[in-house]
């Protein structure tokens, strides 16, 4: 139902009741009343960055100085943070150019770092030292002790808050996963009885959906005529479902309308064509699945202009056994995020200037290394100690103070669970999220910590 129909129906109800009573009107989203908050921006891009990031090599910019015993510091994330890049032992770049492996750093994309354009919380507490727990925390805003692996989130996710309380349609709420392993596809909605699938996010794992497997099994879909063919097909399906309704129900539905489904199918057809034409807006350096994922996230934003796009990156997790690979992945994740922000500002006019980007690691990494050495004889790092709960949050966009730095190593400020009410505040449903009662205690919007 569109706004015009809603107003007309509300008017009829008012006339019929002669103004003697007021009946709450249930919107298609399931909401009874309008969201109470004012939106700071029309869109949020939320980057789950990027598979366990050690503070020392990221925001603290210590490069090899605080990990391998070499006195060479420097910033390898110069799209996100201010600071000079390392001048010695350069291994994080590309292999072309000077012949040394990784010897050519990737050129900076953004003319101003996200730190300059926005606000950085330099020392934030992650509430889990593991990936799935950390991702759950970033999306639920809470850390549930009974949350198991391979289990849907127990508490509502930011997707469900936005759709239930903000009334956002399914096709405006997206989660772009970088694969189907590690329970990633489970994260698009919770199994909470008051929320759940009907308020969930649309999800693609583009490296599968639009990769070789997708091409083989999904790209040759027959296109049915919407009125002559699809309409009667759906009529028959609904009749069959009606007969079965007393016995069981279908799989959990995200609540995409028929129009939205047609739009998503059209997007899939377009994307298969654009992949074949090499027209997907990938970052310049596309050496890992994170970069590929960012390219497809750009494609989703170009098509749907989502209210929220959550993008998951995880390639830095190679740090369990390959520190050099970790540095390279971290540098590429920064490059990918720079590309994403640049693409929004220059290629998606509907989102340019009206989008807030937030990036936080789901967890950090250990203070001390494990015994595994890589090709450069550098030690690797796992994530299980206190240092693994140290992360950062960076955000930029309308309403976010520019060039602001909050907190320090000695003065941690904020939690990763703060991101959920922060997004709620940007998109106008903070009060509903706060009053739902599922957030981690002490979690507040980051705007309230500024």
């Amino acid at each position: 139902m569109n706004r015009r129909k809603f107003i007309r129906n509300a008017g009829i109800a008012g006339i019929a009741g002669a103004g003697a009573f007021a009946v709450p009107y249930i919107l298609p989203s399931g909401r009874l009343f309008a969201a109470t908050g004012r939106q700071l921006a029309g869109h949020v891009v939320y980057v789950l960055f990027a598979g366990g990031v050690r503070q020392q090599e990221s925001i603290l910019q210590r490069y090899l100085d605080d990990s391998q015993g070499f006195p060479w510091a420097g910033n390898i994330m110069y799209n996100m943070f201010n600071g000079q890049s390392p001048t010695n032992k350069i291994v994080f770049g590309t292999d072309q150019g000077n012949g040394a492996t990784g010897g050519t750093p990737i050129p900076q994309i953004l003319s101003q770092t996200l730190e300059t354009q926005g606000t950085v919380f330099r020392e934030v507490q992650a509430q889990s030292a593991g990936h799935f727990g950390g991702l759950n925390n970033l999306l639920q805003g809470s850390q549930v002790t009974t949350q198991g692996l391979k289990q849907k989130p127990i508490n509502p996710t930011i997707f469900e808050y936005l759709r239930r309380h903000g009334g956002f349609p399914a096709s405006k709420v997206w989660f772009v996963g970088n694969g189907i392993g590690n329970g990633i596809p489970l994260l698009n909605y919770s199994n909470h009885p008051n929320y759940g699938a009907q308020y969930g996010a649309n999800f693609f794992a583009p490296t599968i959906t639009f990769g070789n497997l997708g091409f083989e099994h999904l790209s040759n879909a027959k296109v049915y005529h919407p009125e002559n063919e699809l309409d009667p097909m759906y009529q028959m399906k609904y009749f069959l479902d009606q007969s079965f309704a007393n016995v069981g129900r279908g799989g959990d539905s995200l609540g995409n309308t028929e129009d939205e489904k047609q739009d998503i199918k059209a997007f899939m057809r377009s994307t298969y064509d654009r992949v074949a034409q090499n027209a997907i807006p990938f970052p310049t350096i596309t050496e890992n699945s994170d970069a590929v994922n960012i390219g497809f996230a750009c494609e989703i934003m170009r098509w749907f202009k989502p209210a929220i796009t959550v993008v998951n990156l995880s390639a830095v997790d190679g740090c369990h056994s390959d520190f050099t690979g970790y540095l390279r992945a971290l540098h590429r994740a920064d490059h990918a995020v720079g590309h994403l922000w640049n693409y929004i500002q220059t290629q998606v006019p509907e989102m340019a200037g009206d989008t807030v980007m937030i990036a936080s690691p789901e967890c950090g990494r250990n203070l001390n290394h494990n015994p595994i050495k890589d090709v450069n004889d550098w030690y690797a790092y796992d994530h299980s100690d206190d240092n693994a709960s140290r992360v950062f949050t960076v955000m930029a966009g309308p309403g976010v103070p520019q060039n602001l730095s909050i907190g320090s190593e000695a003065n941690p400020i904020g939690f990763t669970s703060d991101n959920v009410p922060t997004i709620g505040e940007i998109l106008g449903v903070k009060n509903e999220i706060m009053s739902a009662g599922f957030l981690q205690p002490q979690s507040v919007s980051l705007f309230d910590r500024i």
């Binding site: 999800f203 999904l218 879909a221 027959k222 296109v223 063919e229 079965f244 016995v247 069981g248 799989g251």
Partner: protein
Amino acid sequence: MGLLLFLLGACKKDASKDQYEVNQVQLYPSIGAKTKNKTQEQYVSILYTNLFQRALSGNKLVEINDCLESIGDKELGREVLISNFMNDPNVVLPSDSSMRSNPDVFTEFTYERFFVRKPSEAEKTWFRNFIEANPQLSAEMIYFAFALSNEYLYY
């Protein structure tokens, strides 16, 4: 007396000639007995066998399952998958003329093929009317609807 005992002992029942006059009937489960959700793998495997009349290889099953896993809206994913199957020249479908020549038989056959049960009279009537009222309707479209239905997700 001895003769009588001899004659009684000679009476023997011929078990092979038992006749109860009961016809052979194929039994189907009722709709109410379908309480178990198929797994995604079961759904894909059964769908493929149904549409192609041959089994899906293990490798392909894993690949297709991964594809469905990569799409958040599972119903949409199934729809895309069925559309792909329908575009395959090897899909085995009844002809539209056979459907139109006897809609009741077609409906019964389709219910048995997809739902492993007989349609009720109401269901048969609905489909007969729907087929007759929609001249553009094809057997493929009906198969599509059955494959996408909620009941097909259960066993």
